[in-house]
Protein backbone atom coordinates (compact mmCIF):
# COMPACT_ATOMS: atom_id res chain seq x y z
CA UNK A 1 0.00 0.00 0.00
CA UNK A 2 1.59 3.30 -1.00
CA UNK A 3 1.42 6.45 1.09
CA UNK A 4 -1.68 7.87 -0.58
CA UNK A 5 -3.52 4.58 -0.41
CA UNK A 6 -2.72 4.45 3.27
CA UNK A 7 -3.95 8.00 3.75
CA UNK A 8 -7.18 7.16 1.99
CA UNK A 9 -7.57 4.00 4.02
CA UNK A 10 -7.25 6.11 7.16
CA UNK A 11 -10.16 8.34 6.15
CA UNK A 12 -13.83 7.74 5.68
CA UNK A 13 -15.14 10.24 3.18
CA UNK A 14 -18.74 10.86 2.22
CA UNK A 15 -19.58 13.20 -0.60
CA UNK A 16 -22.92 14.90 -0.94
CA UNK A 17 -24.17 12.68 -3.72
CA UNK A 18 -23.23 9.60 -1.65
CA UNK A 19 -25.21 10.90 1.30
CA UNK A 20 -28.17 11.67 -0.97
CA UNK A 21 -28.20 8.06 -2.13
CA UNK A 22 -27.87 6.83 1.43
CA UNK A 23 -30.66 9.12 2.63
CA UNK A 24 -32.93 7.79 -0.08
CA UNK A 25 -32.27 4.21 1.01
CA UNK A 26 -32.87 5.09 4.66
CA UNK A 27 -36.09 6.94 3.90
CA UNK A 28 -37.38 3.92 2.01
CA UNK A 29 -36.36 1.70 4.92
CA UNK A 30 -38.35 3.82 7.36
CA UNK A 31 -41.39 3.68 5.13
CA UNK A 32 -41.27 -0.10 4.77
CA UNK A 33 -40.27 -1.06 8.29
CA UNK A 34 -42.34 1.42 10.27
CA UNK A 35 -39.36 2.35 12.41
CA UNK A 36 -39.20 5.76 14.08
CA UNK A 37 -35.74 6.78 13.05
CA UNK A 38 -32.50 5.45 11.73
CA UNK A 39 -28.93 6.59 12.22
CA UNK A 40 -25.92 5.51 10.23
CA UNK A 41 -22.89 5.57 12.51
CA UNK A 42 -19.37 4.58 11.61
CA UNK A 43 -17.58 2.11 13.82
CA UNK A 44 -15.45 4.84 15.33
CA UNK A 45 -18.53 6.55 16.67
CA UNK A 46 -19.05 9.33 14.14
CA UNK A 47 -22.52 9.99 12.79
CA UNK A 48 -22.75 9.68 9.01
CA UNK A 49 -26.39 10.58 8.48
CA UNK A 50 -29.81 10.13 10.05
CA UNK A 51 -33.44 10.06 9.06
CA UNK A 52 -36.74 10.00 10.92
CA UNK A 53 -38.16 11.39 14.13
CA UNK A 54 -35.39 12.54 16.40
CA UNK A 55 -35.56 15.58 18.64
CA UNK A 56 -33.07 17.02 21.07
CA UNK A 57 -30.89 13.99 21.09
CA UNK A 58 -27.17 14.42 21.50
CA UNK A 59 -25.96 12.80 18.30
CA UNK A 60 -22.32 12.75 19.29
CA UNK A 61 -22.98 10.87 22.49
CA UNK A 62 -25.41 8.39 21.01
CA UNK A 63 -23.01 7.64 18.15
CA UNK A 64 -20.14 7.05 20.56
CA UNK A 65 -22.21 4.76 22.77
CA UNK A 66 -23.56 2.78 19.82
CA UNK A 67 -20.07 2.24 18.46
CA UNK A 68 -18.75 1.29 21.89
CA UNK A 69 -21.60 -1.11 22.44
CA UNK A 70 -21.01 -2.78 19.12
CA UNK A 71 -17.27 -2.96 19.64
CA UNK A 72 -17.81 -4.70 22.98
CA UNK A 73 -20.01 -7.35 21.40
CA UNK A 74 -17.51 -7.90 18.62
CA UNK A 75 -14.90 -8.81 21.19
CA UNK A 76 -17.40 -11.09 22.95
CA UNK A 77 -18.11 -12.79 19.64
CA UNK A 78 -14.41 -13.32 19.10
CA UNK A 79 -14.09 -14.99 22.50
CA UNK A 80 -16.93 -17.27 21.53
CA UNK A 81 -15.30 -18.18 18.25
CA UNK A 82 -17.45 -15.99 16.02
CA UNK A 83 -15.97 -13.34 13.78
CA UNK A 84 -18.52 -10.82 15.05
CA UNK A 85 -22.18 -10.45 15.79
CA UNK A 86 -23.72 -8.69 12.85
CA UNK A 87 -26.81 -7.51 14.70
CA UNK A 88 -27.76 -6.42 18.21
CA UNK A 89 -31.14 -5.83 19.69
CA UNK A 90 -31.98 -3.85 22.82
CA UNK A 91 -35.52 -4.09 24.10
CA UNK A 92 -37.16 -1.31 26.05
CA UNK A 93 -40.63 -0.88 27.49
CA UNK A 94 -41.68 1.58 24.79
CA UNK A 95 -38.78 1.86 22.37
CA UNK A 96 -36.23 -0.57 21.07
CA UNK A 97 -32.91 -0.34 19.29
CA UNK A 98 -31.69 -2.62 16.55
CA UNK A 99 -28.07 -2.34 15.44
CA UNK A 100 -27.09 -3.92 12.17
CA UNK A 101 -23.60 -4.02 10.77
CA UNK A 102 -23.27 -2.58 7.29
CA UNK A 103 -20.20 -3.77 5.47
CA UNK A 104 -17.23 -3.50 7.77
CA UNK A 105 -17.30 0.18 8.65
CA UNK A 106 -20.76 1.38 9.56
CA UNK A 107 -23.67 0.53 11.85
CA UNK A 108 -27.31 0.94 11.02
CA UNK A 109 -28.96 2.07 14.26
CA UNK A 110 -32.72 1.74 14.20
CA UNK A 111 -35.08 3.09 16.82
CA UNK A 112 -38.58 1.64 16.71
CA UNK A 113 -41.61 1.24 18.94
CA UNK A 114 -44.74 -0.86 18.95
CA UNK A 115 -45.91 0.56 15.64
CA UNK A 116 -43.83 -2.18 14.08
CA UNK A 117 -42.22 -5.45 15.06
CA UNK A 118 -38.63 -6.52 15.48
CA UNK A 119 -39.16 -9.05 12.71
CA UNK A 120 -40.21 -6.38 10.22
CA UNK A 121 -37.32 -4.18 11.22
CA UNK A 122 -34.78 -6.98 10.86
CA UNK A 123 -36.22 -8.09 7.57
CA UNK A 124 -35.85 -4.70 5.96
CA UNK A 125 -32.64 -3.90 7.84
CA UNK A 126 -30.90 -6.82 6.13
CA UNK A 127 -32.02 -5.65 2.73
CA UNK A 128 -31.11 -2.05 3.53
CA UNK A 129 -27.67 -3.10 4.69
CA UNK A 130 -27.12 -4.87 1.41
CA UNK A 131 -28.11 -1.79 -0.58
CA UNK A 132 -25.88 0.41 1.55
CA UNK A 133 -22.91 -1.89 1.02
CA UNK A 134 -23.42 -1.59 -2.75
CA UNK A 135 -23.65 2.18 -2.43
CA UNK A 136 -20.44 2.34 -0.40
CA UNK A 137 -18.62 0.12 -2.86
CA UNK A 138 -19.72 2.31 -5.73
CA UNK A 139 -18.71 5.46 -3.87
CA UNK A 140 -15.32 4.03 -3.03
CA UNK A 141 -14.72 3.14 -6.65
CA UNK A 142 -15.56 6.67 -7.75
CA UNK A 143 -13.41 8.21 -5.04
CA UNK A 144 -10.29 6.25 -5.91
CA UNK A 145 -7.60 8.62 -7.05
CA UNK A 146 -9.71 11.70 -6.47
CA UNK A 147 -8.38 14.76 -4.79
CA UNK A 148 -9.96 15.01 -1.38
CA UNK A 149 -11.50 18.40 -2.04
CA UNK A 150 -10.67 20.16 1.21
CA UNK A 151 -10.01 23.84 1.13
CA UNK A 152 -6.32 24.71 0.86
CA UNK A 153 -6.73 27.19 3.71
CA UNK A 154 -8.07 24.53 6.06
CA UNK A 155 -4.81 23.85 7.87
CA UNK A 156 -3.99 27.50 8.57
CA UNK A 157 -7.49 28.32 9.67
CA UNK A 158 -7.56 25.27 11.90
CA UNK A 159 -4.41 26.47 13.64
CA UNK A 160 -5.97 29.89 14.20
CA UNK A 161 -9.08 28.32 15.63
CA UNK A 162 -7.04 26.17 18.00
CA UNK A 163 -5.19 29.26 19.18
CA UNK A 164 -8.49 31.02 19.76
CA UNK A 165 -9.89 28.17 21.84
CA UNK A 166 -6.84 26.97 23.70
CA UNK A 167 -4.75 30.10 23.84
CA UNK A 168 -1.78 31.22 21.77
CA UNK A 169 1.46 29.22 21.74
CA UNK A 170 3.73 29.75 24.69
CA UNK A 171 6.74 31.94 23.94
CA UNK A 172 10.25 30.80 24.78
Amino acid sequence: MNANEKLRADRLVFYEKDIQKIDKILTEFLRLSGAKCVLLVDKEGHLVTRKGELRDINMDTISALVAGSFAATKEMARLLGEEEFSALFHQGTKDNIQLTLVGDRTLLTILFDDRTTVGMVRLYATETARKLVETFAQAEKEQGGMDLGMDDQYQDRAKNKLDAIFGPPRKG
Binding site: G68, S69, Y154, Q155, K161
Partner: protein, 331 residues
Protein backbone atom coordinates in the same frame (compact mmCIF):
# COMPACT_ATOMS: atom_id res chain seq x y z
CA UNK B 1 -10.14 7.17 11.31
CA UNK B 2 -10.96 10.69 10.23
CA UNK B 3 -14.45 11.02 8.85
CA UNK B 4 -14.98 13.76 6.28
CA UNK B 5 -18.61 14.30 5.42
CA UNK B 6 -19.07 16.81 2.62
CA UNK B 7 -22.83 16.51 2.80
CA UNK B 8 -23.00 17.54 6.43
CA UNK B 9 -19.86 19.64 5.94
CA UNK B 10 -18.17 17.99 8.90
CA UNK B 11 -14.77 16.65 9.77
CA UNK B 12 -14.69 14.23 12.69
CA UNK B 13 -11.56 13.02 14.40
CA UNK B 14 -10.99 10.74 17.36
CA UNK B 15 -8.48 11.45 20.10
CA UNK B 16 -7.82 9.05 22.93
CA UNK B 17 -6.20 9.74 26.27
CA UNK B 18 -4.16 6.67 27.14
CA UNK B 19 -1.99 5.75 30.08
CA UNK B 20 -1.70 3.65 33.21
CA UNK B 21 -4.37 3.56 35.88
CA UNK B 22 -4.87 6.77 37.86
CA UNK B 23 -2.41 8.75 35.75
CA UNK B 24 -4.87 11.56 35.14
CA UNK B 25 -6.59 10.72 31.87
CA UNK B 26 -10.10 11.33 33.12
CA UNK B 27 -8.91 14.38 35.02
CA UNK B 28 -7.56 15.82 31.79
CA UNK B 29 -10.91 15.37 30.12
CA UNK B 30 -12.77 16.80 33.07
CA UNK B 31 -10.58 19.87 32.94
CA UNK B 32 -11.13 20.25 29.21
CA UNK B 33 -14.84 20.02 29.84
CA UNK B 34 -14.69 22.55 32.63
CA UNK B 35 -12.56 25.09 30.85
CA UNK B 36 -13.46 24.82 27.18
CA UNK B 37 -15.75 27.59 25.92
CA UNK B 38 -19.43 26.74 26.14
CA UNK B 39 -19.97 26.96 22.42
CA UNK B 40 -17.22 24.43 21.74
CA UNK B 41 -17.88 21.67 24.22
CA UNK B 42 -20.44 18.91 24.43
CA UNK B 43 -21.49 16.85 27.39
CA UNK B 44 -19.04 14.67 29.21
CA UNK B 45 -20.26 11.09 29.34
CA UNK B 46 -18.55 8.66 31.66
CA UNK B 47 -19.02 4.94 31.89
CA UNK B 48 -17.37 4.18 35.17
CA UNK B 49 -17.57 2.11 38.30
CA UNK B 50 -19.17 3.11 41.57
CA UNK B 51 -15.72 4.10 42.69
CA UNK B 52 -15.34 6.55 39.80
CA UNK B 53 -12.77 4.44 38.01
CA UNK B 54 -13.23 4.46 34.25
CA UNK B 55 -14.88 1.20 33.25
CA UNK B 56 -15.36 1.54 29.54
CA UNK B 57 -14.60 5.10 28.47
CA UNK B 58 -15.19 8.75 29.11
CA UNK B 59 -16.31 10.70 26.10
CA UNK B 60 -16.62 14.35 25.26
CA UNK B 61 -17.18 15.99 21.89
CA UNK B 62 -15.23 19.14 21.19
CA UNK B 63 -16.50 21.27 18.36
CA UNK B 64 -13.96 23.65 16.89
CA UNK B 65 -16.65 25.25 14.80
CA UNK B 66 -16.50 26.19 11.16
CA UNK B 67 -13.04 25.97 9.65
CA UNK B 68 -12.87 26.75 5.94
CA UNK B 69 -16.48 25.71 5.54
CA UNK B 70 -16.17 22.46 7.44
CA UNK B 71 -17.44 21.97 10.95
CA UNK B 72 -14.52 20.31 12.67
CA UNK B 73 -15.17 18.12 15.66
CA UNK B 74 -13.01 16.06 17.92
CA UNK B 75 -14.33 13.13 19.87
CA UNK B 76 -12.22 12.91 23.01
CA UNK B 77 -12.08 9.57 24.77
CA UNK B 78 -10.26 8.20 27.75
CA UNK B 79 -9.61 4.53 28.36
CA UNK B 80 -9.58 2.55 31.59
CA UNK B 81 -5.98 2.36 32.68
CA UNK B 82 -6.00 -0.78 34.79
CA UNK B 83 -4.23 -3.74 33.27
CA UNK B 84 -7.32 -5.90 33.59
CA UNK B 85 -9.26 -3.77 31.11
CA UNK B 86 -7.01 -4.29 28.12
CA UNK B 87 -9.84 -5.62 25.98
CA UNK B 88 -11.87 -2.49 26.41
CA UNK B 89 -8.87 -0.26 25.86
CA UNK B 90 -8.46 -1.95 22.52
CA UNK B 91 -12.07 -1.29 21.62
CA UNK B 92 -11.79 2.39 22.39
CA UNK B 93 -8.61 2.65 20.34
CA UNK B 94 -10.41 1.55 17.20
CA UNK B 95 -10.21 4.25 14.57
CA UNK B 96 -8.08 6.53 16.72
CA UNK B 97 -6.54 9.50 14.94
CA UNK B 98 -4.35 10.80 17.75
CA UNK B 99 -3.26 9.75 21.23
CA UNK B 100 -2.35 11.73 24.32
CA UNK B 101 -0.31 9.46 26.55
CA UNK B 102 -0.68 10.59 30.14
CA UNK B 103 2.28 9.40 32.18
CA UNK B 104 2.54 9.54 35.94
CA UNK B 105 5.62 11.37 37.25
CA UNK B 106 5.63 9.28 40.43
CA UNK B 107 8.83 7.18 40.47
CA UNK B 108 6.83 4.21 41.69
CA UNK B 109 4.70 4.35 38.56
CA UNK B 110 7.54 4.16 36.05
CA UNK B 111 7.02 0.49 35.38
CA UNK B 112 3.32 1.02 34.82
CA UNK B 113 4.07 3.91 32.48
CA UNK B 114 6.36 1.72 30.41
CA UNK B 115 3.93 -1.18 30.43
CA UNK B 116 1.09 1.07 29.35
CA UNK B 117 3.10 2.64 26.53
CA UNK B 118 4.09 -0.79 25.27
CA UNK B 119 0.49 -1.87 25.58
CA UNK B 120 -0.61 1.10 23.48
CA UNK B 121 1.84 0.15 20.78
CA UNK B 122 0.74 -3.47 20.86
CA UNK B 123 -2.97 -2.64 20.70
CA UNK B 124 -2.45 -0.27 17.80
CA UNK B 125 -0.59 -2.97 15.90
CA UNK B 126 -3.71 -5.12 16.04
CA UNK B 127 -5.42 -2.42 13.98
CA UNK B 128 -2.50 -2.22 11.62
CA UNK B 129 -1.36 1.10 13.03
CA UNK B 130 2.18 1.99 13.97
CA UNK B 131 2.63 4.23 16.97
CA UNK B 132 5.68 5.75 15.32
CA UNK B 133 3.43 7.09 12.54
CA UNK B 134 0.35 7.97 14.59
CA UNK B 135 0.08 11.57 15.82
CA UNK B 136 0.71 11.36 19.53
CA UNK B 137 2.12 13.38 22.39
CA UNK B 138 3.12 12.54 25.94
CA UNK B 139 2.05 14.42 29.03
CA UNK B 140 4.18 14.18 32.15
CA UNK B 141 1.41 14.59 34.68
CA UNK B 142 1.55 15.12 38.42
CA UNK B 143 4.54 17.42 38.24
CA UNK B 144 3.45 18.77 41.61
CA UNK B 145 4.55 15.59 43.36
CA UNK B 146 7.47 16.32 45.68
CA UNK B 147 9.30 13.24 44.41
CA UNK B 148 8.34 13.62 40.75
CA UNK B 149 10.93 12.15 38.45
CA UNK B 150 12.96 14.66 36.47
CA UNK B 151 11.58 15.24 33.01
CA UNK B 152 14.90 14.25 31.46
CA UNK B 153 14.63 10.82 33.03
CA UNK B 154 11.04 10.39 31.91
CA UNK B 155 11.97 11.46 28.39
CA UNK B 156 14.83 9.04 28.25
CA UNK B 157 12.85 6.07 29.46
CA UNK B 158 9.48 6.59 27.81
CA UNK B 159 9.68 8.95 24.82
CA UNK B 160 11.30 6.58 22.40
CA UNK B 161 9.84 8.28 19.34
CA UNK B 162 10.82 11.79 20.36
CA UNK B 163 7.26 13.12 20.25
CA UNK B 164 6.28 16.46 21.80
CA UNK B 165 5.93 16.28 25.56
CA UNK B 166 4.27 18.53 28.11
CA UNK B 167 4.53 18.93 31.81
CA UNK B 168 1.22 19.07 33.57
CA UNK B 169 -0.61 19.14 36.82
CA UNK B 170 -3.91 18.06 35.34
CA UNK B 171 -5.87 18.46 38.52
CA UNK B 172 -5.21 22.19 38.51
CA UNK B 173 -5.53 22.47 34.75
CA UNK B 174 -1.90 23.24 34.15
CA UNK B 175 -0.65 21.74 30.90
CA UNK B 176 -3.99 20.27 29.88
CA UNK B 177 -4.85 22.66 27.10
CA UNK B 178 -1.36 22.91 25.59
CA UNK B 179 -1.21 19.13 25.35
CA UNK B 180 -4.56 18.86 23.64
CA UNK B 181 -3.95 21.79 21.36
CA UNK B 182 -0.71 20.43 19.93
CA UNK B 183 -2.14 16.96 19.45
CA UNK B 184 -5.23 18.38 17.78
CA UNK B 185 -3.01 20.38 15.48
CA UNK B 186 -0.99 17.29 14.58
CA UNK B 187 -4.17 15.37 13.79
CA UNK B 188 -5.55 18.16 11.64
CA UNK B 189 -2.32 18.27 9.70
CA UNK B 190 -2.86 14.72 8.57
CA UNK B 191 -6.33 15.38 7.20
CA UNK B 192 -5.41 17.15 4.04
CA UNK B 193 -2.18 15.35 3.44
CA UNK B 194 -2.07 13.93 -0.01
CA UNK B 195 0.54 13.67 -2.69
CA UNK B 196 -0.90 16.10 -5.22
CA UNK B 197 1.23 14.57 -7.95
CA UNK B 198 -0.40 11.21 -7.44
CA UNK B 199 -4.02 12.49 -7.34
CA UNK B 200 -5.97 11.99 -10.55
CA UNK B 201 -8.33 14.68 -11.76
CA UNK B 202 -11.74 14.43 -10.16
CA UNK B 203 -14.26 12.37 -12.11
CA UNK B 204 -17.04 14.28 -10.44
CA UNK B 205 -16.40 17.24 -8.23
CA UNK B 206 -17.84 16.97 -4.77
CA UNK B 207 -19.76 19.96 -3.51
CA UNK B 208 -16.90 22.04 -2.23
CA UNK B 209 -17.53 23.71 1.05
CA UNK B 210 -17.53 27.46 0.85
CA UNK B 211 -14.40 28.83 2.45
CA UNK B 212 -15.46 30.83 5.42
CA UNK B 213 -13.63 32.94 7.90
CA UNK B 214 -13.23 31.05 11.13
CA UNK B 215 -15.57 32.12 13.88
CA UNK B 216 -13.28 33.34 16.61
CA UNK B 217 -14.12 31.97 19.98
CA UNK B 218 -13.55 34.05 23.05
CA UNK B 219 -9.82 33.83 23.67
CA UNK B 220 -8.99 31.84 26.75
CA UNK B 221 -6.12 32.70 29.03
CA UNK B 222 -3.64 29.86 29.30
CA UNK B 223 -4.11 29.52 33.01
CA UNK B 224 -7.74 29.55 33.97
CA UNK B 225 -8.88 30.66 37.36
CA UNK B 226 -8.84 27.18 38.67
CA UNK B 227 -10.80 26.14 41.68
CA UNK B 228 -8.33 24.08 43.69
CA UNK B 229 -9.59 20.55 43.93
CA UNK B 230 -8.28 20.18 47.43
CA UNK B 231 -6.42 22.45 49.80
CA UNK B 232 -2.79 22.65 48.68
CA UNK B 233 -2.60 19.14 47.32
CA UNK B 234 0.66 17.42 47.98
CA UNK B 235 -0.25 14.61 45.58
CA UNK B 236 -2.01 15.03 42.31
CA UNK B 237 -4.16 11.99 42.92
CA UNK B 238 -5.54 13.28 46.22
CA UNK B 239 -6.59 16.44 44.46
CA UNK B 240 -8.24 14.47 41.71
CA UNK B 241 -10.23 12.54 44.27
CA UNK B 242 -11.47 15.77 45.83
CA UNK B 243 -12.54 17.05 42.44
CA UNK B 244 -14.39 13.90 41.50
CA UNK B 245 -16.35 13.79 44.69
CA UNK B 246 -17.92 17.05 43.72
CA UNK B 247 -18.97 15.67 40.37
CA UNK B 248 -22.58 14.84 39.74
CA UNK B 249 -23.55 11.19 39.72
CA UNK B 250 -21.95 9.23 36.96
CA UNK B 251 -23.51 8.13 33.69
CA UNK B 252 -26.69 6.11 33.62
CA UNK B 253 -24.78 3.38 31.89
CA UNK B 254 -22.59 2.77 34.93
CA UNK B 255 -25.50 1.87 37.14
CA UNK B 256 -27.54 -0.34 34.83
CA UNK B 257 -27.68 -4.12 35.00
CA UNK B 258 -29.53 -6.63 32.87
CA UNK B 259 -30.64 -6.44 29.31
CA UNK B 260 -33.38 -3.87 29.59
CA UNK B 261 -32.20 -0.49 28.56
CA UNK B 262 -35.38 1.39 29.24
CA UNK B 263 -34.80 1.50 32.96
CA UNK B 264 -31.92 3.89 32.54
CA UNK B 265 -32.24 7.41 33.81
CA UNK B 266 -35.24 7.95 35.99
CA UNK B 267 -33.95 11.39 36.66
CA UNK B 268 -34.05 13.87 33.86
CA UNK B 269 -30.77 13.91 32.04
CA UNK B 270 -28.27 16.62 32.73
CA UNK B 271 -27.38 16.68 29.07
CA UNK B 272 -28.24 20.18 27.91
CA UNK B 273 -26.45 20.65 24.60
CA UNK B 274 -23.03 22.08 25.31
CA UNK B 275 -24.00 22.99 28.81
CA UNK B 276 -22.12 22.89 32.10
CA UNK B 277 -20.54 19.73 33.38
CA UNK B 278 -23.08 17.82 31.37
CA UNK B 279 -22.56 14.45 32.99
CA UNK B 280 -25.38 12.03 32.27
CA UNK B 281 -26.95 11.32 35.59
CA UNK B 282 -27.32 7.82 36.92
CA UNK B 283 -30.57 6.42 38.10
CA UNK B 284 -30.42 5.34 41.68
CA UNK B 285 -30.06 1.65 40.96
CA UNK B 286 -26.71 0.99 42.49
CA UNK B 287 -25.57 -2.29 41.05
CA UNK B 288 -22.95 -4.65 42.28
CA UNK B 289 -22.04 -5.65 38.75
CA UNK B 290 -19.07 -3.33 38.45
CA UNK B 291 -17.82 -4.37 41.90
CA UNK B 292 -18.03 -8.01 40.81
CA UNK B 293 -15.94 -7.21 37.80
CA UNK B 294 -13.22 -5.90 40.05
CA UNK B 295 -13.40 -8.98 42.27
CA UNK B 296 -13.04 -11.11 39.17
CA UNK B 297 -9.96 -9.11 38.35
CA UNK B 298 -8.39 -10.19 41.64
CA UNK B 299 -8.94 -13.80 40.70
CA UNK B 300 -6.78 -13.35 37.64
CA UNK B 301 -7.36 -12.92 33.94
CA UNK B 302 -9.42 -15.57 32.23
CA UNK B 303 -11.61 -15.74 29.22
CA UNK B 304 -14.70 -16.05 31.36
CA UNK B 305 -13.68 -12.98 33.31
CA UNK B 306 -13.16 -11.04 30.11
CA UNK B 307 -16.46 -12.29 28.79
CA UNK B 308 -18.25 -11.07 31.90
CA UNK B 309 -16.49 -7.74 31.67
CA UNK B 310 -17.43 -7.31 28.05
CA UNK B 311 -21.00 -8.33 28.73
CA UNK B 312 -21.14 -5.70 31.41
CA UNK B 313 -19.63 -3.09 29.13
CA UNK B 314 -22.20 -3.93 26.49
CA UNK B 315 -25.01 -3.52 28.96
CA UNK B 316 -23.63 -0.26 30.24
CA UNK B 317 -23.09 1.19 26.79
CA UNK B 318 -26.52 0.04 25.66
CA UNK B 319 -28.08 1.50 28.76
CA UNK B 320 -26.36 4.77 28.11
CA UNK B 321 -27.52 4.76 24.52
CA UNK B 322 -31.02 3.85 25.56
CA UNK B 323 -31.06 6.52 28.19
CA UNK B 324 -30.05 9.19 25.73
CA UNK B 325 -32.44 8.04 23.01
CA UNK B 326 -35.49 7.29 25.08
CA UNK B 327 -35.57 9.96 27.65
CA UNK B 328 -34.24 12.82 25.61
CA UNK B 329 -36.64 11.94 22.82
CA UNK B 330 -39.58 11.85 25.16
CA UNK B 331 -38.69 14.95 27.14
Amino acid sequence: MVQINFALKEVNCKIVYYGPGMSGKTTNLEIVHQKAPEENKGDLTSISTDGDRTLFFDFMPLDLGNIAGMRTKFQLYTVPGQVYYNSTRKLVLQGVDGVIFVADSDPEKMEENLESYANLEENLKEYGKDLADLPHVIQWNKRDLPNALPVEELEKKINKYGVPTFEAVAVTGEGVFPTLKVLASMVLETINKIDKNAAKPRAQAPSRPQAAAPQPAAPQPRQQQVQPKAAAPARGRAAAQGGKKKAPARAAAARQAGGRTAQAGRRPAAQAAGGGRGRARAPQQAQRGPARVQEAAAAGKSSSGLFVALLLFLVLAAAGAGYVLFFMNNK
